[in-house]
Symmetry: C2
DNA sequence: TTGAAAGCGGTACCAG
DNA sequence: CTGGTACCGCTTTCAA
């Protein structure tokens, strides 16, 4: 019981393969008019056989796979899933499918994934990998092959970009904390790769400096990307003396670990210390305490990335674009005035 | 700057297309031996041109797309991500790619997704959709086309299956609660579709009955699949009188909402009521209180599903298999003796 | 208004 | 050991 092909449909309808193709694709095209009667015959045959065109053959012939690749560093972070979700919806709406691959924070796997996408001849690529280990060389190579690429979350000069300016937000976070009287502010910096997260770290330092406060390296801890890492980092941070009165974490996933660490240490948030982070994942407003965090519209980022990409697919010569998704500091329950 | 094709490689290496194909695919095959010298020449040409075979063309010819479809009801649940993750790894290891589609709890979209997968000629399909609205008819049709299918989480008689027996676990949960002295036990039942979750509901009722306890319909609430739904359901449940001393929720995502609702009501868990749920998503052990929940190895489910699928791809005649992934009741902090 | 036929980029059989 | 070539299923001129 093989699947029916165009030929089968043609035979059953008593027409040629070309006619079938016309009927199926050129519905509104007047260039190749088909008599209503043949059209119906063909459609009937299609229905009868349950014919579905073969996307591989179509794309081989047409050149476009109607597929866009999405490379994510890590599938554990809810923030990324929101982006994926948005991208998925936009893609589907445009008749595209998403080929999702995660590098699991592993450079080798990342490169492998990219190869797979390339062999599949995706129409475009969205990188959420920010600054991964992805060699610039490899990227340039792909670009040279005229593969449209959109970067999420970083301002690379040679690609279309979309994302939020967490750098600015970090400044706002610092202002908020300073207004509450905090001076010993810690920073937990645990992300997929060294470079990402720096956008938040620098403003943190700048703000301290501007306020005439010292930058205490003991208050800056770098860790891995998991909640467990955040937990460990927080334990270390909160058990040293003098301990910080406020903690900034690069994302909500890690913040969850910090909250747990605090509870295990018998510390109360925000009475004993304040906590702020970034992303505003759905869970943030359900945590105890509800998390004060920098909100961005992750789904909009995903959607925008796809739109940006498809626009470039449509016109490779258009000027590079950068889209900023605004952020908002959601002040909830995890921040309060400095304890005395 | 078009991408190089086999022809380009052949030309550069001074051989025919066939030879290029041989060198690339039959490395260990002795049937078509290639002189070491030509082999090197070809390889050199491949490297020089950065040639990558076109997966579409390959699959068109070979019949296999090396792609497996994965249909998920909802991309918001971390439990599903873990499954996806496991599936992804197993697939990649076997040289397959995953084509992920979510139905977003929408029947129409589900059908559409399935069509897309079908047009892409996936080698097999994994359904995490349990009993969605997916018409049995549609499934049979796909099966009739000899598309290998694996179902996750349900015992359908006509497909390979993998999953955990939450039904049994629900019994264990009830025993645990009964041992702690609970009698007014509520059940929050909010999932993708009506039928799923019933596996936990029935044992709940049975257990009550067996203990000679009444089944109070006011203690059974059905809601949507989101945390917000869980929150709302819990509020309703906990504000009625007499309120339950224990609450069972069908999954951790909803449990998160219940925890938040309790806190907002000024209720303490487990002092005021106990809470148990299912899945043991990574966040469960970070919640406050740490969640007592039924643990299953979601990644193993994902991995197993693709293994099952690939085995069937290898041999369509093998007998149907059902794999059970064991569960374990993780007793943490959200359950305690009944308040007096 | 419809049909014939030339590819798209590979694979694998059959000769040489 | 290597090359010629017939497909895989579809789109799209070009003719009829």
């Amino acid at each position: 019981m093989k699947r029916p092909t165009q030929v089968d449909v043609a035979r059953l309808a008593g027409v040629s393969r070309a006619t079938v193709s016309y009927v199926l694709n050129r519905q509104t095209d007047t260039r190749v008019p088909i008599s209503e009667e043949t059209r119906q015959r063909v459609l009937a045959a299609v229905a009868e056989l349950d014919y579905e065109p073969d996307a591989r053959a179509q794309s081989l012939r047409s050149g476009s796979t109607k597929t866009i690749g999405l490379l994510i560093p890590d599938l554990q972070n809810p923030h990324f899933w929101q982006i994926i979700n948005g991208a998925n919806q936009a893609a589907r709406r445009a008749g595209y499918d998403l080929l999702l691959t995660s590098s699991d924070l592993d450079p080798r796997q990342e490169e492998e994934s990219l190869k797979a996408l390339s062999r599949r001849r995706i129409d475009g690529l969205i990188l959420l990998t920010a600054f991964t280990t992805l060699s610039q060389e490899l990227l340039n190579e792909m670009a040279a092959r005229r593969l449209p690429i959109v970067m999420i979350g970083c301002k690379d000069l040679s690609f279309d970009c979309i994302g939020s300016n967490y750098s600015e937000s970090a400044g706002e976070v610092m202002r908020h904390l300073r207004e509450l009287g905090h001076e010993r502010i810690a920073f937990i910096h645990g992300v997929a790769n060294e470079r990402s997260g720096l956008d938040r770290l620098q403003p943190y330092k700048d703000s301290l400096l501007a306020a005439g406060l010292p930058i205490d390296e003991n208050l800056i801890v770098h860790c891995g990307a998991t909640t467990a890492d955040g937990y460990a980092a927080a334990k270390q941070l909160l058990t040293q003396a003098p301990s910080p009165t406020a903690v900034i974490v690069v994302n909500d996933l890690l913040a969850r670990g910090v909250i747990r660490a605090a509870a295990d240490l018998g510390l109360f948030i925000p009475q004993d210390f304040s906590l702020v982070s970034f992303d505003d994942i759905p869970a943030a407003q359900y945590m105890t305490p509800r998390l004060t965090t920098v909100r961005t519209d992750a789904e909009a980022i995903g959607r925008g990335a796809v739109e940006l990409l498809l626009q470039r697919v449509g016109n490779r010569e258009r000027p590079l674009q950068t889209i900023h998704i605004p952020t908002q500091l959601m002040i909830r329950e995890s921040t309060g005035v400095v304890p005395n």
